[in-house]
């Protein structure tokens, strides 16, 4: 089995598994005042400190959530609502069109239901958003802008954004800026304080931690309107009993990722480079999407279009050969739509449908690359045949 879908979810790191399972057997609500509660609270707070340390943030800036999607929703809606409450003229949101659906769909929802107006930033054919375009969008009418949101690195094509320059542009106009860093953490150096961001989304299961836990890193003094009201946990921003085991596992994974930042990404990138070379050797027409330069791309990402194929067919054929990857596109009732990311990058819909994402991570091996190298040629040939056999005249 070659698991090459780390961008979807990662295998648990051993230290995360230990931290998680140690806590699962213990009782205690971190909000309780008795000994069991105090013990759980200590685990949560130590985890908060470890996570903050790993992300270059202060412990008080960590707001635990049930995952990346909740953190994105909290950032986008919460910032919009609080900014609008303070100044009813701030209805514009500046965003990239290649955001994850956890940002994209809240943006569209705010447009449809809450009077927001989203200004979509241009994206070049490598998937890059420029700080200059953010500056331009802001300068048009800064007093009407509620927030800026641009992801740190793209989950489909792996393109890394100039997030510090984008944050600096927003700061010059005093506009809060959010970034979804779910894919970046563990693969790139992510330092919240140095980035200049006001809010940043992170997720547990993308970095070798457990599912169902994430965090919004929220700068002190940044106001967001809560989505969940209740017991007042997490600075009254996110009510709900904290999931101590998941938080402990998440922090352990983040600490491990930060500690091995000098080793793991370089190792992953080397494997990725040999996978890209192997695919391009086996399939001369294969198109590598995203930024080909190492500095502009997540080390674990290899995203291709195979002209003349359906991504669906490639996935089925590779799955049958025990190679697990993704078309990287959104599903509704499981029906593959051409990726909004590739379309925004100017790809034609046919080529967008012909795409496949291999994403490597901490458990990837040379054997995984070898499995792809030997399978991809025949698989692409067969998928092309299937496309020809069913093409409408």
């Amino acid at each position: 089995m070659a698991y090459l879908d780390h961008a979807a979810t990662t295998p648990l790191l051993p230290e995360a598994l230990d931290a998680l399972t140690d806590e699962l057997g213990r009782v205690g609500n971190p909000s309780s005042l008795h000994a069991a509660g105090r013990r759980a609270r200590r685990v949560v707070e130590e985890s908060r400190e470890a996570l903050a340390e790993a992300l270059g943030a202060r412990p008080s800036e960590i707001v635990f959530t049930c995952g990346g999607t909740e953190a994105d929703n909290l950032a986008v809606k919460g910032l919009y609502w609080s900014r609008l409450a303070a100044d009813p003229s701030r209805r514009r949101i500046i965003a990239s069109p290649i955001e994850h659906h956890a940002v994209l769909d809240p943006l569209r929802w705010l447009e449809e239901h809450e009077g927001a107006e989203v200004v979509w930033l241009p994206v070049d054919r490598l998937g890059r958003v420029s700080a200059a375009s953010v500056e331009e969008a802001l300068a048009a009418d800064p007093s009407s802008v509620a927030l800026v949101t641009v992801m740190w690195a793209n989950n489909e094509v792996g393109t890394v954004q100039p997030i510090e320059a984008i944050a600096a542009a927003a700061r010059r106009h005093g506009i809060p800026v959010h970034s979804d860093a779910v894919q970046a953490v563990g693969q790139l150096p992510v330092d919240f304080a140095a980035s200049g961001l006001d809010a940043m989304t992170v997720s547990g299961h993308k970095i070798g931690g457990p599912h169902g836990v994430g965090a919004l890193v929220l700068g002190r003094g940044v106001e967001v309107t809560p989505l969940l009201h209740g017991g007042g946990q997490e600075r009254d921003i996110r009510s709900g009993t904290l999931d101590t085991p998941a938080i402990a596992g998440f922090a352990a994974a983040a600490a491990s990722a930060a500690a091995s930042l000098g080793v793991r990404p370089a190792r992953t990138a080397a494997l990725r480079d040999s996978l890209v070379a192997a695919v391009q050797a086996a399939v001369p027409g294969a198109v590598l999407n995203g930024d080909p330069a190492a500095a502009g791309r997540l080390p674990g990402n290899a995203h291709f279009s195979f002209p003349g194929c359906e991504g669906d067919s490639l996935l089925l054929l590779l799955d049958a050969r025990d190679i697990e990857c993704s078309t990287g596109s959104a599903c509704s009732a499981g029906v593959a739509q051409p990726s909004h990311v590739l379309l925004a990058m100017g790809a034609d819909p046919d080529l967008a449908r012909a795409s496949l994402r291999f994403s490597l991570g901490h458990t990837s091996t040379e054997a995984d690359v070898a499995a792809v190298a030997s399978a991809i040629g025949p698989v692409v040939e067969r998928a092309r045949g299937a496309r020809l056999a069913t093409q409408r005249h």
């Binding site: 067919s313 089925l316 799955d319 599903c331 009732a333 499981g334 029906v335 593959a336 299937a386 056999a389």
Partner: protein
């Protein structure tokens, strides 16, 4: 064999797939997404195109431990089935969309893609039997007469049949439900689907009115006398008795039936039950599930999905039309439906009914 099992989300296709697995085949499941807007087709649990059906299909695949994919066939389905359905009604005929779906989608687009991807067969939950005969594969009626679906498969050619697998043909529906329950398939008690899957509310007339617009016209009797009016000829099927707005009762006081539909002059002609009797028919686009007959064959012909087969002699004329002479006249043969020919339980082939030959030549009644 490598088998692609089409899972609709219903009990039949789930049990068919489970039998393919039990038989030792290497089975992969697909659910066909046929609607461009999955939620806009049928709601509830009766159809084959809802998000709930997709989930049920996925769940069945999980229980069987086989890979599951969704194939988007919405464009093919819209063009070959839905558009064809509307066009046929617009032309005054009564189509059967299930037949068209089997011919053009399930055993064409899906089978072609499956074969190209390395599968040997497409497995469905249709109730029909494939029998190895002396000259190759034969398609036969299912053993459960109440569920037999050989009629809607009557369009399959030998080539299509070669890539088809119908594991339920020798089983009663009640046994299929028991087997589903025994195998832990949650769809065991799911109701059967009956209506047209792409008409969510079951209102075919409303669907056609939205597609074709109002086209009011006259209802006339055999003499051409206007006896009523209608909102569009597509609301009628030859042989229909109910649902007509007729102002003047027939002279003999007997019920009147639709005899003919003429969309060009927006006329629906009605007459007596006797006038419905048909002695023969002509079919276009003949398709053969076996050798093309070189001479006239004595056979049975079935002219609608739920109807008896009747004795006939059939042959191909020089223009490639299928001509069918009925031994005894039958009633209510609607152009657009398929005439499926059987030899006993075996399907020989089919054609789309284009015109019928009345049993009694209408003689204008004397006007007093």
């Amino acid at each position: 064999m490598r088998v692609l099992a089409a899972l609709s989300g219903g009990v039949d296709s789930a049990v068919a797939a489970s039998r393919a697995v039990a038989a030792g085949h290497d089975v992969t499941a697909v659910h066909l997404a046929l609607s461009r807007h999955p939620q806009s087709y049928r709601t509830g649990a009766r159809g084959c195109c809802t998000l709930e059906d997709a989930r049920d299909a996925r769940r069945a695949a999980d229980v069987l431990g086989i890979p599951f994919y969704v194939w988007d066939l919405a464009a093919e389905f819209a063009e070959d089935v839905v558009d064809d359905f509307v066009a046929e009604y617009a032309a005054g005929r009564t189509p059967n969309p299930c037949l068209r779906c089997n011919e053009k989608v399930k055993f064409s687009a899906v089978l072609d893609r499956a074969r190209a991807l390395g599968f040997d067969a497409v497995c469905t939950g249709h109730y029909a039997r494939i029998v190895d005969g002396p000259d190759g594969r034969e398609l036969h009626r299912a053993v459960d007469p109440g569920k037999d679906q050989s009629y809607v498969l009557g369009v399959l050619t030998v080539e299509q049949l070669a890539g088809a697998m119908f594991p339920l043909g020798d089983t009663l529906k009640t046994d299929v439900r028991h087997e589903a329950a025994a195998r832990g398939l949650a769809v065991a008690e799911k109701p059967d689907s009956h209506d047209i899957c792409f008409i969510s509310d079951g209102d075919t007339a409303g669907f056609l009115r939205r597609a074709l617009g109002d086209a009011p016209g006259d209802i006339v009797d055999a003499e051409g006398t206007v006896v009523g009016s209608h909102e569009g000829t597509y609301g009628f099927t030859v042989g229909q008795r109910k649902g007509m707005r007729i102002d003047r009762p027939a002279a003999d006081g007997k019920p009147r039936y639709v005899l003919d539909i003429s969309p060009v002059d927006r006329r629906v002609t009605v007459g007596s039950r006797e006038d419905l009797a048909v002695a023969g028919l002509e079919g276009v686009r003949p398709r053969w599930c076996g050798p093309v007959p070189e001479a006239a064959v004595d056979c049975l012909v079935q002219v609608r999905a739920h109807g008896d087969a009747t004795a006939a002699t059939a042959w191909l004329d020089g223009d490639g039309l299928l001509v069918v002479d009925l031994v005894e006249p039958i009633l209510g043969v609607a152009p657009g439906q398929a005439a499926v020919l059987y030899d006993g339980t075996r399907v020989l082939g089919s054609a789309t009914i284009d015109r019928t030959v009345p049993a009694v030549v209408a003689t204008p009644s004397t006007v007093s």
